[in-house]
Symmetry: C2
Subunit: 242 residues, 2 copies
């Protein structure tokens, strides 16, 4: 359906893919429904080319991987989406023309189309097919979803974002001196409040509190905020409030 | 919209997630459109619970990660989808109750909701935001797409599928003896056809041909097929056909 092509174009745009080729679509083209679903990716649809066969669409392509959910009766190499993306990125980096071939919603790709491709891609879905390779069932991913996941893996191969990071918009990690000032301020007030009991355990209690504070990886701003909180709490205490 | 919740349920089902909680939906519930879009995932919708606030929905959850596309004015840890999935899987493996919090289509999550979460998740989209962290723009992923990508990463953390594998439905890798029979058969017929010229180069030519055949990692069946092809080609030649 045209909708699915629109969703596919939108998914492509999200992940930096730009060239879409349609093989013998069963709907009219250009397609209004596709334009609506594509939202910001109308430029991809405008440049989309139509081809009568896979053979024609793939004529100038040097590495082709085909998505498939079904067990096949031929012996072909099957890749995970991440491995496929890595190979496409590597070939693309060498200046080769690369493509991913997706099947239609119902029928998928036929064996003749598959025979033109270098390897297959299977997207893992639940339940995981590890038990028996030949028992792979057709996943229920539609075209837009399949394009989204492959596009995502494609983008990831070029994405150097660290697995975990902090958005440092309001501060930098507190320098050790500020943390030590915080430790000593807090420990002084806790001592005054009779917190360290029994006194013999004070050393261990201090170390636990310092570890707890360090594990929060405070910014300089946060360290100052906590010192302000201590001041406010102590002020309440001297007023006789809880 | 109900459609998006249906698509989200279908994405969850594809990747082995089962428990959906809705916070103050702006549409009626149960929802017919959601049921249609969920297709095979109606059981997830049937068990979906409604909650007036994020605070209520998250009451029993021990690790919560929130998806966000927008720059935030607070300093929070931001994870890639893969890192988020790994942490959720690890916590889940220790018996903890975990959740991913998704925002609505338009407004996303507000800062009060974000303040209840342990860390944020940002899905990388094009153009990559590596240049300047504070310039992150809202991606155009909808709810169903965001749930699909996070569900996919969740499944991947439990997926031991090798990056590349062969589906061995019609053969096993050919034993060396069959390959050697193939080599010798082919080389004998090539020799008879005057292929090895100049004769001094025959050794190198043979090694190149053997390397080419080995790189195809033939099954026993494929090795036999090629020997049959050689027989057929030679038969044509003796008939005087090309």
């Amino acid at each position: 359906m045209g909708e699915n092509v629109g969703a596919a174009a939108r998914a492509m745009k999200n992940f930096g893919l730009s060239e879409l080729r349609l093989i013998a679509p069963k709907f009219e083209w250009p397609n209004d429904r596709a334009q609506i679903l594509a939202s910001g990716a109308g430029d991809i649809l405008d440049r989309t080319t139509l081809h009568p066969t896979a053979k024609d669409a793939l004529a100038d392509v040097q590495l082709v991987l085909a998505t498939t959910a079904r067990g096949r009766d031929v012996t072909r190499e099957i890749l995970t989406p991440a491995e496929a993306a890595a190979r496409l990125r590597e070939a693309s980096g060498r200046g080769l023309k690369t493509a991913i071939l997706f099947g239609g919603e119902r029928a998928g790709l036929d064996n003749d189309e598959i025979s033109l491709c270098d390897a297959l891609i299977t997207i893992p879905t639940a339940p995981l097919p590890q038990v028996k390779d030949t028992e792979l069932k057709a996943g229920s991913l539609n075209l837009g979803q399949a394009v989204l996941l492959l596009g995502y893996e494609w983008l990831k191969t070029a994405d150097a974002t660290p697995a975990s990071r902090m958005r440092n918009t309001i501060g930098v990690p507190a320098p050790r001196a500020e943390l030590i000032d915080l430790f000593e301020h807090l420990e002084r007030e806790l001592d005054a409040g009779g917190f360290f009991f029994p006194p013999a355990k004070k050393g261990a209690m201090v170390r636990n509190i310092r570890a707890m504070i360090l594990s929060s990886r405070l910014t300089d701003q946060q360290a100052r905020t906590i010192r302000g909180m201590i001041v406010a709490l102590v002020r309440n205490k001297y007023r006789g409030q809880p």
